[in-house]
Symmetry: C2
Subunit: 265 residues, 2 copies
């Protein structure tokens, strides 16, 4: 039962999922792999996204992970089904947990989803939402400026607010949504700014928070939940620059994790 959970992401956005996994499941050890060298996946082709994701999965399978979390909406949109079919361990993505939380939350069935271009054009949220609840109305919007801004460390203040306002203009004007899904794992870092722009009448759903919660339920179904209090050492791998990765983990976690290593896939 004491095997680690594997978490993969195109870069650093998945660290918000890792952070929630650590907070909500403190008995679990994580092994995180961020493909920062080839990030962002949001504007990659479908074939590239699939190939890169499988390379990350192969790396983590050798670490004897008990569950795989695809902590990237774009990778989830294009690889979740085949990974679930081909791996013998449970595989969880970030899209369905966010969709389920949005369905629980909405009162008027009007849901907004923001994400990368690849996630939005995959229509993965629409499909997930409407499969479960056909009467849901979904308005999706790509916000291509958010990821580069977050990676620069700009999370609040004038510049952040202006960019968020500009980006969300169409979704705010047109719709009557009461729930907005942050369909990209970078976006929870902008949550305060996004909330201030869209107002308090709209409930924001973080797919990162919801994925951690659903991981807990799925682990339990498979009798894989670690219920013994213990000190765990999480390990973070990056394919990109070690110093930049360390800097960003420090911004997100408020301290630099002990075990960060650079690898080549």
């Amino acid at each position: 039962m004491e095997r680690p959970i594997g978490v993969i992401d195109s870069g650093v956005g998945g660290l918000t999922v890792a952070q929630e996994l650590m907070r909500q499941l403190p008995n679990e050890q994580l092994i995180y792999l961020g493909d920062t060298l080839r990030c962002p996946y949001g504007s990659r082709t479908k074939d590239e996204i699939i190939q890169f994701t499988w390379e990350m999965v192969h790396f983590l399978l050798k670490k004897d992970i008990k569950m795989l979390v695809i902590a990237c909406n774009t990778a989830t949109a294009y690889t979740l089904n085949s990974l679930q079919q081909q791996l013998s361990i449970p595989v969880i993505g970030v899209i369905k947990p966010g969709a389920r939380a949005a369905i629980k939350t909405t009162k008027n069935n009007d849901i907004g989803v923001i994400g990368t271009e690849a996630t939005v054009s995959s229509k993965a949220y629409e499909t997930a939402l409407k499969q479960i609840k056909p009467e849901i109305n979904v308005q999706s919007l790509a916000c291509p400026l958010f990821v580069p801004m977050v990676e620069k460390g700009v999370l609040e203040g004038e510049e952040a607010k202006k960019t968020v306002e500009q980006s969300l203009k169409s979704i705010i004007k047109e719709r009557n949504m009461d729930t907005l899904v942050l369909g990209c794992t970078h976006y929870p870092l902008l949550k305060g700014t996004i909330q201030s722009v869209i107002g308090n009448d709209v409930t924001i759903i973080s797919s990162s928070d919801e994925t951690a919660r659903e991981a807990s339920a799925i682990l339990e179904v498979h009798h894989l939940l670690s219920t013994r209090p213990r000190q765990v050492q999480h390990i973070f791998y990056t394919t990109g620059e070690l110093d930049i990765f360390k800097q960003i983990t420090k911004v997100i976690f408020k301290k630099t994790p002990k075990h960060i290593r650079k690898i080549r896939l």
Copy 2:
């Protein structure tokens, strides 16, 4: 895939779970059984609770249900583990979904739980919360006046407010909790009154809403989710007075369901 979900409860409280299942999973058919004749279970002995619950389960298994939802905190506390071990279909209770949602929500790790005497003395929430996150502080409180008040249809107004204020006095004074779990499926009907008494700084978690959401995830893991839009006819069984049951379903659902039948267990 088109088999129904079975929902059992000691009486009518579980209708709040049924309502959320219908709202969050509109493609799913429910068969509900409320043991109103022998309700409430909250002050029954452990052996009685186990025996009564198994009688309900036997009735529903004959209806070829694909999943069992124990929509009663007291029955969940005393029968979930053995039902999960002995049935071949997935079984979900109301305690762990509420616990997981509370862990996701709390920022200061200080959680309050209110429920029946049997649920509180079972320590099922404490166990569930601390198994997943050992550093959680839990303050539990039995509110024996709430169920009879709800069953009388008193949900708001002076009488409701007074009873809720009196009952919650100790938990409000002593603790610094930021999250309160409604650990009884009757209590969501008092949510407005409870929120007005405890104030807006405390987030209320309804185990009913959370159970419906987790049922969606568990059905998906087992490839049992109905994803085809369809008209479904839910069926409600009661062991008690048909007229009273009809009245209460009308209060909860705002209309009387078509198929309500009285049975003997």
